[in-house]
Amino acid sequence: MARILGGITTSHIPAVGHAIANELFEDPYWKPFFAGYPPIHEWLAKHKPDVVINIYNDHGLGLFLDKMPTFAIGAALEYQNADEGWGLKQLPPFKGDAPLSWHIIEGMVEDEFDICSCQELPVDHGFTVPMQLFWPGLNENPNMPRAIPISANTVQHPIPTLKRALDFGKSLRKAVLSWPEDVKVVVLGTGGLSHQLDGERAGFINKDFDTYCMDKIVSEPEELTKISRKELVRQAGAQGTEFLMWMMMRGALGEKVNLVNKNYHLPISNTGAGTMLMECMDEEMVQAAE
């Protein structure tokens, strides 16, 4: 039976990709950001997940406004990275887990989530930066898991509600746990936290709100579903809506989680950057009882 080991949140901004490429880990600007990652590396080295469900938001590489799905789930054997317009070096393709993707899609459509299944999905920095952060070396890394990308729409309003995002995660959890194969799964919620790139309010960051979200998401995620989407934009900034990915991830972890690691630093580029590792408790307890 498949198990969900835990969930990890991280920023996914392109600047992090640069910093990794240039090994700026000890640089004074970057050091407090990268400080959040060693405990996660240790945890991943210990638990060695077989599959990573990478919940991110496409920023205009894999999807366009011609057909903008609310929730897109990759169902491919591999996922290509590609130039996003800045001439960045293209990363090698990421290995998928298509049978598990289809199992998840089957389960979630039956559960009344109206999924867009993607047999081709070019993945952008929202997906690739977290992969680089958690599995340095990517395909060269012997612990590199198979990946399932899930993208939620934060480009075009209406975006999903925070409640729908959390419920998405709950349904995702049901689907994964019903997979008969004995695989260990980790779920990523990438993006955020507060930031705004556009408009006269560009550069807006909201440390108080970020702190509130990082606090509540551990043991009271339902509380966060009271935030309207417009209030989310107001408090977290126009692109802070990426917090929806965190909600989706959190829903997939079950009711109780054990907070293993938490780091917050601002600014990283224009954002407040939050890094969290939450271990699934319910699963652990099930294991212990067996």
């Binding site: 205009g60 996003e84 480009v155 408009g199 006269e200 440390k207 107001r234 900034g237 126009a238 580029s269």
Partner: protein, 119 residues
Amino acid sequence: MELKDLEHDTPIEGTTLFDGEMAMKGYGLNKMSFSFNEANARAEYVLDPEAYMDKFKLSEAQKQACRDKDVLALIREGGNIYYLAKFAGIFRLSVQDIGAQQTGMSVEEFKQKLLDQAK
């Protein structure tokens, strides 16, 4: 943490919600910007911006905003920042450059503003 539930029509200061209305207005502009994922498209734009903009049926206001690289105008004309970032990429403008331009600050001032929010 005090959380409100804003009315649909309450504006958020300094923020344009990219909703259906804006998406319709900016469709050609965003489609052009989306095309800049491809290096060839970026080269084609640089070679002849006017011809390239015509290909996507941009309005005169959108064209002028592109010529001026005026981000606030681009947003007013329906541009979405995720796609505009690819337009900005042609000119190697970073999100700090764009932020400075939109807030009427120097890039240094804008970066300081970001740092100040850590307090």
